[in-house]
Structure formats: C-alpha cells, structure tokens
C-alpha cells in the first residue's frame, strides 16, 4: 500500500513539476522573443495586419471573391478547408501574395502546379494535391471581367485649378 501511494504522489509531483517547467519555458520564450524582436507579429499582429487591410492601396491583400469570407491575418488567404495545406506547400518559395492575386480554374491551377514541379523544384504534393486544388479552385476562381471593365475610383478629389 505504502509504496503505491508514494509512487502516486511522486507521479503527481512529477507531472506538476513538468507543467511548471513547460509554463516557465513558454514564459521564458516569450521574454526572449520580445527582447530580441519586439516588433514581432506575435505581439503586434492584430493592429498591424488590420492596418494592412485598411490601407489596401499600398500593401494590398486582395479582398475578393468571398463576401462573408474570413482572411488569415498572417497570409491573407481566405480561410477555408485546405488552407493549411496551401500554406504549407505553396509559401515556401514564394509568398502567399503570388497565389492570392491570381484567379484560375481547377485545370489551370493544376497546370501551374505541374509547371512548378517541372521547372521550379516544387515537390510531389501527394494526397494534399486534391485538397489544395479544391481550395484554390473554390476560393480563387476566375470571374468574368469582360473585354474592358468600368473604371473604379478609390477617392474622388477636387483638383486645384
């Protein structure tokens, strides 16, 4: 009985200590990161990225295609099934912006992947390929623009004459 109880208490103590160490390490990590890198997006990400969306004129993350869609603040990708597979496989060489500014059919996205595999050192996407293609074809599908679109004016201004 007694050794059992002792073991149980030891286990509890060990677990507690373990949790404490993890908590301490996380805190320590935070402090280290904050000391060396106070402007890290981990600390400022909310304001910084929201600002990015508002000033779409200079750093434009395209806000298109999905009215109620939510955007991943880190990458600007539309949040949907398959997004993490896209982030993991499609942002290692180039940034998300090269994806989010394009609009293609599923076939054209597939051809683009094939081109990158043949010429740009992209790896075999394996079972993730259909997930990635579904995501891209749904969220970054072409919209018909006609032969010439109306002009859009961000802001009318009175010209000094």
């Amino acid at each position: 009985m007694q050794p059992d109880q002792f073991n149980k208490q030891l286990k509890l103590l060990r677990n507690g200590l373990c949790l404490f160490v993890i908590a301490l390490m996380s805190l320590g990590g935070f402090v280290v990161l904050y000391t060396f890198y106070p402007e890290s997006s981990l600390f400022t990400v909310k304001e910084a990225n929201q600002k990015q969306f508002e000033t779409s004129d200079s750093l434009s993350v395209p806000l298109v295609n999905s009215q109620e869609g939510e955007y991943d603040l880190e990458t600007g990708f539309i949040e949907d099934v398959g997004m993490s597979a896209v982030v993991n496989n499609c942002t290692n060489c180039h940034s998300a912006r090269l994806v989010t500014q394009n609009r293609m059919s599923r076939e054209a996205w597939k051809a683009t992947i094939k081109w990158m595999q043949e010429t740009q050192n992209l790896w075999d996407l394996g079972e993730k390929e259909p997930i990635i293609l579904d995501y891209l074809a749904k969220n970054y599908a072409p919209e018909s623009k006609g032969r010439r679109q109306n002009l859009t004016i961000d802001k009318w201004y009175v010209l000094e004459q």
Binding site: M25, L98, Q120, L151
Partner: protein, 407 residues
C-alpha cells in the same frame, strides 16, 4: 543579429510554435513558416521608394508604380517598378565583381572587373523605356497567371554604361553568332544554387544597337540593388526581362538562347491569334521582341473633380518599343471623336515621348479621358483589351482616367 538566422534557430522556432498556439488568436503558425512581418523589412525603406507604390508580391519582390507617379520626364528611383524572378543577391562586393564574356560564338573569353569596364570602354548615357512584358496583365479575361500588374510596370530613366557592342567587339564574334545571353547573381526562389531564376537575352541585331548598354549607373548614381547593382544589361523597348540585373556573365550563342524563362510559355505569345482561354502548345509560342505602342496619362491623377472651370490640361508619355510614336490623341466621348495632343520627340531613340493637351468639357458630368498613341508604322493602341494570350503579355489598351465636372 540577422533576423532570418535568429528566427530559423531551432530553439526559437519551437518557442514560436509553442506560443503561437496559445497566444495568436488561437491560430497555429504552420511548421517552417515565418510570418511576413518577420521575413523582410519594410520594402519602402529597403528600396528607398515611395509609399504610394503598390506591393504585388513580397517574395519575390514585385512592386508596381501608378500612372500619376510616373509624371516625371525621367523616372526617379522612388517611382520605378521593381520586378524580380528570384532572390536578389545579398553580399555584393564591387571590388571583386567580375563580368565574364564568353560563349560558343565568341572568338575569345575575357573577364572584366568593374573598373576594367569603366576604364577600357567609352561611356554613354541614354534614357530608355523599360516595360515589363506583363504590364497590364490584370485586365485579361480569362485571367492570366502571374503578378497582376496594372498600368505601372514601366519606367524611363537615364542609364549610363558602356555599349554592349564595344564589349562584344573586344571579345570578338564568330560569324555564326545569333544570340547574346545574360547570366546573373540572383538566386532561384527554391534557394537551389543549381537553378537559374532567369537567364534571357537578345538577338545579335539588338545586342549591337548603340543604345544597348552594360550599365553601371541609374540617373547618375550607382544602380540601386533592386535594379541590378552593380551591373545591368539594358535593352530599351523590349520586355524589361531581357535587361538582366546583377550581371555576371554574357554568353555569345550560336543558337537562340535557351536559358531560364526563354523557353516554354515565358515571355512568349502565340504565333497565331487564339481565342480567349485557349490552351496553346509551347511549339506554337514565339518570343516577345519589341513592345507595342502605348501611352499613359500621368497628370492629373484619375478621380479629379473640376469645380472652377471646364478646362483641364493633361500630360503624359507615349512609347512604341523599337519604333517612334508619330501621333497622340485623346477622346472624352469614349472614342467617338479624337483630338490631337502635342507630342515631343524622344530625347534619344528608345526613350518615351511626352504629350500634352488642353481638354475642354462641354457640360457638367462624368467623363473618361482616353489616350491613344500611334507608332511610326501606323499602328494604334486598341480601346479594348488586345489579343488574349496564355501569360497575359502585351496589354497596350488605351489608358483611361475618370473626371467629374461640377462647375
């Protein structure tokens, strides 16, 4: 401390992951991914450019200008578009930088330091129009793949350097020379040193033109890093991708160059016109050479409201690849009638030309001013988007600005 090294050290990346799950609005930062804010510094400070420039892509850097920012006769660095296929070279030493000139159609093989080039050959300065082959891609329907450039991927600045033909002459050309190719110090996006991000070139005839330079200065100063420091091949009037940045090697070829982005569908258009969206075989694509006639209204900025009087002075530039612009016109009635603009001669061959006009509006209301240039072969800009092509090159549709008259 170098940011990238700092972030990629394994200890900290695991910390980032550990806290990423708990702190950042419940989102997991994917393994191996560093947020944009951590990767690169502020592009406007990094490249010393206007904050009004439009960042299309941050890896690789692709940054676009806007029509009203291009109003200067000679484009300053702060308004020059930046287009990259790979990663810019990081450690450039101008004292040890060498340009090798060689190739199967070269009579000899020579290496030049920067001071060799500057001392051995005569210097020339030309103002040269460089436009991205994909300028205007944004408007193609169905959309074409690539950076979605609007109208601002063009600039016309002063380049100083030595003539490529003088350097080719120094090395000597075999009679079978047909193409002159460049290689550069930038790195492929995959960071694989075996892969070239881009290696293009020009046919011998273009290489031997007076205005084709190996440049070391832009607007009287060392070329900025984003534009090819310390050496750039500059061939005005052709897609800007033939003007190779961070030049390390010139290869005189006995065949049409087959480097990265010379073959396949890159910087190529269908030999024969195709329907929008059609799939075109590589063998039916041809290399883009001279860019088509085009113009931009650079003043006023689009969206102007006139409240005092119904008259407006417009200004802009027009260019036509290897050719000259012979005529410049504007319309305020959607192309029903056209009125002439005054048009200057180019300061030198391959420089853009400046136009001006006084526009009178008959009554209050919404107007669009359309601008149309005509080249020395009689070809004008189309009013709608020209022939669709798979990669969305060569959109030279007329530029339009919107004006409201509320007098």
């Amino acid at each position: 401390m170098n940011r990238r090294n700092f972030i990629s050290s394994s200890v900290l990346s695991s910390i980032t992951l550990a806290i990423g799950t708990t702190v950042v609005y419940g989102k997991v930062i994917p393994v191996g991914y560093t947020p944009i804010a951590m990767q690169e510094p502020d592009p406007f400070k990094l490249f010393n450019i206007s904050e009004q420039m439009n960042v299309l892509n941050d890896r690789p850097w692709n940054i676009e200008s806007k029509a009203h920012l291009l109003n200067d006769m000679v484009t300053p660095n702060k308004y020059m578009f930046i287009r990259n296929n790979g990663i810019m070279p990081e450690d450039i030493n101008v004292d040890t930088w060498k340009l090798k000139v060689e190739g199967e159609s070269a009579l000899s093989s020579k290496e030049y330091t920067l001071s060799d080039l500057k001392q051995k050959f005569k210097h020339y300065t030309y103002q040269l129009t460089l436009e991205c082959g994909g300028n205007g891609r944004k408007e193609f329907n169905p959309p074409a793949k690539g950076n979605q450039w609007g109208v601002g991927a063009v600039h016309c600045s002063n380049w100083t350097g030595v003539r490529l033909k003088d350097v080719l002459d120094d090395v000597g050309l075999k009679p079978n020379a047909v193409y002159v190719a460049y290689y550069a110090a930038d790195l492929h996006l995959s960071r694989n040193p075996e892969k070239e991000p881009i290696s293009r070139g020009v046919p011998l005839s273009k290489a031997l033109e007076d205005e084709t330079l190996i440049a070391f200065q832009l607007n009287g100063e060392d070329i900025p890093i984003a534009h090819g420091h310390p050496l750039r091949l500059v061939a005005g009037g052709w897609p800007a991708s033939v003007s190779g940045k961070w030049l390390t090697r010139i290869r005189i070829r006995d065949v049409v160059h087959d480097g990265a982005k010379m073959t396949g569908q890159s910087y190529r258009v269908p030999k024969n016109p195709v329907a929008p969206g059609e799939i075109v075989d590589d063998k039916d694509m041809v290399i883009i050479e001279s860019m088509p006639v085009k113009s931009l209204i650079t003043s006023p900025k689009t969206g102007a409201v006139l409240t005092k009087n119904r008259s407006l002075k417009i200004k802009g530039h027009a260019w036509a690849g290897d050719l000259k612009v012979n005529k410049m016109e504007y319309s305020i009635d959607f192309g029903s009638t056209w009125k002439p603009c005054s048009l200057s001669d180019p300061i030198n061959r391959l420089a853009w030309q400046h136009f001006e006009a006084k526009v009178d509006f008959p009554e209050n209301g919404y107007y669009e001013i359309w601008a149309r240039a005509t080249d020395s072969n009689g070809k004008s800009q189309p009013m709608i988007i020209p022939g669709w092509n798979p990669k969305g090159y060569l959109n030279n549709a007329c530029h339009r600005i919107a004006i409201k008259v509320e007098v």
